[in-house]
Amino acid sequence: MDDSDEALMARIARGDEPAFRELARRHLPSALALARRITGNAADAEDVAQDALLRVWTNAPRWQPLASFRTWLTRVVVNLCLDRKRRAPWVALEAAGDIVDTAPDARARMEAGETDRRIDDAIAALPARQRAAIVLTYREGLSNADTAAMLDTSVSAIETLLVRAKQNLRRSLGDIIEK
């Protein structure tokens, strides 16, 4: 049996639930990771991913395979993330508490963790569309044209968003970059 995304969508359009579960299992991890990077927290990402998959189910009879399913799902996830009004506050470092690690490379790993946290904070502090452009470009590896299509804007607008986002990130992470 053909188990390509498009074949599964054709079955889902006829109300085939097992096909939907198969497609959800296949694409959920990447949708979840993308949503987590754009929304900045796991709870919102889970809501967005679940909502996106339910839209796949409900809109399957109308879906036309003009682009790949993955492209369509990415677009749905990005739009849901941008539509989300609520932004959960980031947990402050003090609230995380201290965990004692006795491993020999504990200090190096702690520093790496601190760097990751600062990058996360810097990305989270970006305006939503700049953040989406950064995530689509650097995580999904999309070209400026594809990112523009995802965000319903022009290529020049994406270039501007990326330039401004990188200026903001350089300001926030200057010491890490120059290290």
Partner: protein
Amino acid sequence: MNEDHIQSKLDAKLDAMLTGHLRQQADGEDASAARVLAALAARPLPRQHRRAWSFWPNVLLDWDFTPAWPRVAMLAGCAALGFLIGLAGLDGQFDDASATTVAAADLSSIVFESEPLTGLRP
């Protein structure tokens, strides 16, 4: 080293840092995926959005228009039977019954009146 060179080097470093950071798997993603799948399985899926009459193309595409051979044989048999009945003249009484009979109608009512002004007849 000039300023542009330093800037491009910092840009490249930022690009590499962002790519590396954003592509690494965050903690707990597997657990999140399991939670979402469980939530989807826990309740019935909503009704799908279907356009009115959207099912007709599928019905027509799924319809098997190829006639089965018994139907073709029956159709040919009926045609042959009708031909033989016509040849044998067994349908004569039906022809008689449906033949049009011109009744002996009263033609006196059909009057051709002359033109009142000129007196011409049609």
